[in-house]
Symmetry: C2
Subunit: 308 residues, 2 copies
């Protein structure tokens, strides 16, 4: 592989993480896309291959294309890039499919150009892909996809991303019921005002979750995985949510909630064995209901996008 080409792994990500709506996210180790990015003499960006998902290949309609163009606009590089995308993450699954593509593209380009841009700049470029995908330039999938581990988007203006450690035995289970929930729709149903009382509970839990991650206090992590604001509303869009959550907790999960804007449901567990047991309990519910699903068990990805 020459220095004109790079192949990367782009991790799937869980955003929101119960209490951390719009601010928290985490990268997964064993779920993600692959991309090959190649420098070209020709200016601009072309999606030359897109396998695994039926997504637009026109540059301006593709999140990797749009994110890449945002980078090119700030670069003095005179050439362009060809991008091949091998999707493993289903679009609309709620585990950061668009963020994987846009983050992978700009990270790979930055590597090929000799790293002229900071990580925070890359987040901003990738957020342009999120804007195309969901109508909102959010960073809670892009940040963990780029940095790895848990990330907190403390502020958007100015953009401020904080990395948070992950306990070594923390595993995620993600189940994706094969139904469609558009991010834009799941945003629309949220209330624009909330009670101060619920908000206080929420920021208490954010503080508890961050403290639990720093101290590897699995029980505190579990207690903090509560969402008094978004989950009660969004879970209505996900058939079987309450039963899946109940089954996950009964199987020993530390906590369980909606991944991103859904429909995927995530659970955290201590240890891979427990996470697999939780996966079995969750899928049993969808088998009973008769909804197709994908299920993933994964460690936490501590590196973010990486060369493979």
């Amino acid at each position: 592989m020459s220095a004109n080409q790079i192949k990367v792994f782009c991790p799937a990500t869980i955003a929101n993480i119960s209490c951390g709506f719009d601010v928290l996210g985490v990268a997964l180790d064993s779920v993600g896309d692959q991309m090959i990015v190649r420098k070209t003499l020709e200016k601009g960006i072309r999606i030359t291959k897109l396998e695994g998902q039926d997504l637009p290949m026109k540059t301006l309609q593709n999140v990797a294309g749009v994110a890449g163009l945002a980078l090119l606009k700030e670069s003095d590089y005179q050439g362009g890039f060809d991008i091949e995308i091998y999707k493993k993450i289903k679009a609309g699954s709620g585990i950061g499919s668009s963020a994987a593509s846009s983050t992978g593209a700009v990270w790979a380009m930055n590597e090929l150009l000799g790293k002229p841009f900071s990580a925070l700049q890359l987040v901003k470029f990738a957020m342009e892909g999120e804007l195309l995908a969901s109508g909102v330039a959010h960073a809670d999938n892009v940040a963990p996809a780029l940095f790895g581990g848990f990330t907190l988007v403390r502020s958007y203006d100015p953009l401020d991303v904080v990395t948070i450690p992950s306990p070594s035995e923390l595993f995620a289970t993600v189940i994706h019921p094969q139904i469609e929930v558009k991010t834009s729709d799941s945003r629309k149903i949220l209330k624009t005002t909330i009670s101060l009382k619920d908000a206080i509970k929420q920021w208490g839990n954010v503080g508890g979750l961050v403290a639990g991650l720093f101290t590897s206090d699995y029980k505190l992590i579990g207690r903090s995985l509560e969402d008094h604001i978004v989950e009660p509303i969004r879970s209505i869009l996900i058939p079987g949510f309450d039963d899946v959550k109940k089954a996950a907790i009964e199987a020993g999960a530390l906590g369980c909630g909606i991944s991103g804007s859904g429909p995927s449901i995530f659970a955290f567990s201590k240890g891979e064995v427990k996470a697999k047991k939780v996966a079995a309990a969750m899928q049993e519910i969808y088998q009973e209901i008769g909804i197709d699903y994908d299920v993933h068990v994964s460690g936490i990805n501590m590196d973010g996008v990486r060369k493979i």
Copy 2:
């Protein structure tokens, strides 16, 4: 001093800490009350001395009395206690005057009884004192007064207190303008609903502040000391607040906000020298306006209530 008597230091505390309304608090090292608690054959609790502040001495009207009675009710101890209170913290100052008395009382009693109660039980007893003082059984002053350092009240139901480390060079400056703001009044003016947008900023900052305290990242601590919800409303009750805050930041403070429900204003700084410079800048404003004030510069108290 016999085992029938104990003298304790009860630290002042800063609650809320900008973004952490109702959940975060921190104990001060060089500001606090002293109490002497003595076992008696006579049942019940008596406040036998109260110096430094004009406060009720009748047991049921005194926060230490009420908190102590809550403990006695759960105890199989057949005797009672006499309490002497030497107030240094002014009542109504916003730095946990009532919490110091109620926490000091129950901690001292627990020591004298051979520690039958857990720290969490002591928090609950002391909260009865807060209920008497402010009409709300809040724990955000009581928890740091008891545990020391920074504390997060993650949840009230069930009560869940998380201790958070403090960077070694963190110092607090507190200025107390001699005006009266009742905690109950300052609660009344708060809105019961808030915008989701502001709430997201707030829990982003709570996460950032907790992460900054764990990593001794003073700049992150400073950036996270924002309050988009309570400060804009409550600061109206504190004359000169905006100017004092501006002066503190210009003098090098990491951040500045309302201590508890006010009227005291706190600032955090890296190092004692900076904290003293910040104190000078803050008091200059009240000298100009012509409002009397007390000013304190203090390290963080890592022990909470302690025997002296």
